[in-house]
């Protein structure tokens, strides 16, 4: 029996191929992209685990990362193999039956590598055909052989010495791999790149801070555009019919000191719709013009169909770090709806075009300015989930305010270029929640309160279950309709990751990274 299973596994591994057609229609037994599908639902259609049996979930196996840095991986699962990433920029291919390691890719980091403004983490890989793609802390994009982990190609994306890093998972399209870049606290000039999947040759680059002569350049003063930030550090979404990539951008640089950059600072804190073939901008929507609170718009853009004011629309929704939930037409970028989903004290609301009506005097100051949300936002990089059947948008919410401070900022290559910071309110005054929003209007259906503002994403499933985790190590399941707690387990380590679901020989599994371990749960 065991030999038979092993034989099956070997043949499955040998045949592992992920053609583009599979990425268009992901089979529910696999988890093929960072967010589960191109629309970034982080939703599994599997129904075996449901609200009646979740309480019977038990650990199937666990994997211990080789590194004790925060384990923020979102696994990708293909035909019996799970690909996890761990610090600094390593990949482990695991047998989904046993959890045993099939191969590892370990990448030594340059001694002088510094991550400015974030930890030495990696959030996941992309797969296409017989390759696994990884963005690295030293700002390379690497293609690995899916069967062995051998390097097929290794392309330099940017110079790590100037604070460029990659922590997010790449996005694989038909024949190209799209990757973003980190460095919003290092004074980089942000961009989004596409590389030829077979050769690693760069096909296009879109600069998220326009240069001289380009539209939007007038929103920067003098040379401030050269260090304007707008990094692209979280994985975006893709609409194959429109052939548009949707990707969020981060804060303008320096974060909290805006003296050198009067203007809207395009395309910082924006959602970009780019032509996948050329990298040309189709439209943009700036959530927080001239941001001074580090409210990156790098949250996951979720693509869905919705009926708005009686008309069927293709929309994109985002729970933004600035504490507002937005619904936009994804063909045109037109603003359709926007409401706060978390406490915010910086705007009276949004006008008809979605522009925030900013309350004066909320900018960072030398003595500190109290504003909700804190600089980590109403939510952050961890993923929301969209349940297409229930039309609910589940988001992990951070209810927390902070005093924002402004200080001097001078650009030096490879050094922090932030110009301030925050002092958060005492822990006892903060809390977290998973909130279920009506996906079309942003109206809250229910919330599940958490002890502290979380760093874990949300998964929803066809079985009507929502999974997420807490800073204190609780991994838990909620009823997707009501938010009622169905099951929880103490994992012994903080959860700073997104859950995924897949099946092994017809048995549904849910995986989450907690502490320094990856835990896989299933029914007995």
């Amino acid at each position: 029996m065991r030999a038979w299973i092993t034989g099956m596994l070997v043949s499955a591994v040998a045949a592992a191929q992920v053609p583009y057609s599979r990425l268009l229609q992901p089979d529910p037994e696999s988890w093929l992209t960072y967010s589960g599908n191109y629309s970034s639902y982080r939703y599994s259609p599997l129904t075996q685990i449901d609200s009646t049996n979740t309480a019977k979930l038990r650990l199937q196996w666990m994997y211990q990362s080789k590194d004790t840095t925060r384990f923020e991986t979102s696994p990708v699962v293909v035909d019996g193999v799970m690909y996890v990433t761990e610090s600094p920029s390593d990949v482990a291919a695991l047998d989904v039956h046993s959890g045993r390691t099939l191969w590892r890719y370990e990448r030594p980091m340059p001694k002088d590598l510094r991550t400015l403004g974030f930890g030495r983490v990696n959030r996941g890989v992309a797969v296409l055909e017989d390759m696994v793609y990884l963005g690295t802390l030293d700002a390379h994009l690497v293609a690995l052989d899916a069967k062995t982990g051998a390097v097929r190609w290794d392309s330099v994306v940017a110079d790590y010495k100037t604070g460029h890093c990659i922590t997010g998972a790449p996005l694989a399209l038909r024949d190209r791999i799209v990757t973003g870049i980190s460095g919003g606290e290092a004074g980089i000039r942000g961009f989004l790149d596409a590389y030829d999947a077979k050769t690693g040759k760069r096909l296009w680059r879109f600069w998220t801070v326009p240069g001289p002569g380009e539209p939007g350049h007038e929103t920067w003063d003098g040379d401030s555009w050269k260090t304007g930030g707008a990094p692209t550090w979280v994985t975006g979404s893709y609409d194959p019919d429109l052939n548009l990539i949707y990707w969020g951008t981060g804060n303008p640089g320096p974060d909290w000191n805006d003296d050198s950059r009067p203007g809207a600072n395009l395309y910082s804190c924006s959602l970009l719709a780019l032509d996948a073939a050329t990298g040309k901008l189709k439209w943009h929507f700036q959530f927080t013009p001239h941001d001074t609170h580090d409210w990156d718009a790098t949250e996951i853009p979720v693509l869905m169909d919705a009926t708005i004011r009686g008309a069927r629309r293709k929309v994109v929704a985002m729970a933004n770090r600035n504490a507002f939930y937005y619904v936009l037409d994804r063909a045109s970028g037109e603003f359709l709806a926007g409401v706060p989903y978390a406490k915010q004290t910086w705007a009276t609301g949004l006008d008809d075009s979605g522009r925030p009506q900013v309350i004066p005097g909320k900018e960072p100051s030398e003595t500190g300015t109290l504003v909700y949300p804190s600089l980590q936002g109403g939510t952050n990089w961890f993923s929301p989930s969209y349940h297409p059947g229930l039309r609910m948008f589940y988001v992990s919410v951070r209810e927390m305010g902070a005093y924002y401070f402004k200080s001097e900022a001078e650009y030096k290559p490879g050094v922090m270029f932030a110009g301030g910071g925050e002092r958060t309110l005492p822990a006892e005054e903060n809390y977290g929640a998973v909130r279920a929003l009506d996906a079309t209007t942003g109206k809250m259906n229910w919330e599940f309160r958490l002890k502290s503002p979380p760093w874990a994403g949300v998964l929803s499933t066809g079985g009507g279950v929502v999974f997420s985790g807490s800073n204190e190590g609780n991994f838990y399941a909620l009823d997707a309709r009501t938010g009622k707690l169905l099951w929880d387990i103490q994992t012994g380590g903080g959860i700073f990751a997104n859950p995924v679901s897949f099946a092994v020989d017809g048995k549904q599994m849910v995986a989450i990274a907690a502490g320094h371990a990856l835990l896989v749960f299933g029914l007995p």
Binding site: D67, T68, T69, R70, S87, P88, D112, R114, T115, L116, G117, F118, G119, R120, V121, E185, D255, G368, L375, Q376, A402, Y403, F405, S407, E408, A409, E410, G414, V415, M416, A418, G419, G420, G421, E422, R423, T424, P426, A427, E428, R449, L450, K451, S470, E472, G473, N474, Y476, L485, D488, Q490
Partner: protein
């Protein structure tokens, strides 16, 4: 030669107010994003404490800041260089310092006050006593005499930020009070007045009440309070 060397080192170690100000500037640029603009913490831990988790002395701390703590997501700061590193380190150390005020009390008499007042009923000092409240063996390296006197006079106004007393009512009607050991989204662990641990599922409790600003420690207002404060301030580790 040797003498000159020591003299120079001594000068280099002496920290002027200007150095602290320079260190603060570097801190705000390089460290404040995670540790808070005033070092009170944010994504990273608070540094406003006399005893930090890393760096036993200034040299250790300087090396720690240079190397960083990648496991916890803290980048190294070699770029601050031989001039910048000591300045930042000095500033970080200054954050936990409570200004020393001359202590009028007599530590030897304070030892007798400690015994007479029954402090050992709730505190362990040099291995002796009951561990209901915090251990006091190193309290002198964590708090100044003036701060200790203030705590003795007004314990309820000087509680650590994470400290919370709680009272719960169990489904069978029992009321249990205690210090919070842990609280997460679903569970709560308390330690009661006898030092016993209690663990609860929060959704099973009939009542759950926080008691902010409450502690079992009674104020001490005796005329010999300066002696007691001086005695506690002299406790700097196991003898």
């Amino acid at each position: 030669m040797c003498v000159i060397f020591f003299l120079l080192t001594g000068l280099a170690l002496a920290q002027t107010p200007l150095d602290v100000e320079k260190g603060k500037k570097l801190f705000v640029v390089n460290c404040a994003t995670c540790h808070g603009i005033d070092g009170s913490g944010g994504a990273g831990p608070s540094l406003r404490k006399p005893k930090l988790a890393h760096g036993a002395n200034k040299e250790d701390l300087e090396q720690f800041i240079a190397r960083g703590n990648p496991d916890a997501g803290m980048p190294g700061s070699f770029h601050l260089g031989v001039d910048g590193l000591p300045l930042v380190t000095g500033y970080v150390l200054s954050l936990g310092k409570i200004p020393e005020t001359p202590l009028p009390g007599d530590p030897a008499r304070g030892r007798e006050v400690y015994a007479k007042a029954g402090c050992a009923g709730c505190h362990i000092l040099q291995g002796v006593g009951h561990g209901i409240g915090p251990e006091l063996t190193e309290i002198g390296s964590r708090r100044s005499g003036a701060a200790l006197k203030e705590i003795l006079l007004h314990p309820e106004s000087n509680l650590p930020t994470s400290f919370m007393m709680m009272e719960v009512k169990t489904p069978d009607g029992k009321t249990i009070s205690g210090y919070r050991v842990n609280e997460d989204t679903v569970s709560l662990q308390l330690r009661d007045a006898n030092g016993n641990f209690h663990s609860f599922r929060k959704d099973k409790l009939a009542r759950l009440e926080k008691k902010p600003g409450k502690t079992w420690m009674p104020p001490y207002t005796g005329p010999d309070i300066d002696d007691l404060a001086a005695f506690l301030a002299s406790q700097r580790g196991r003898s």
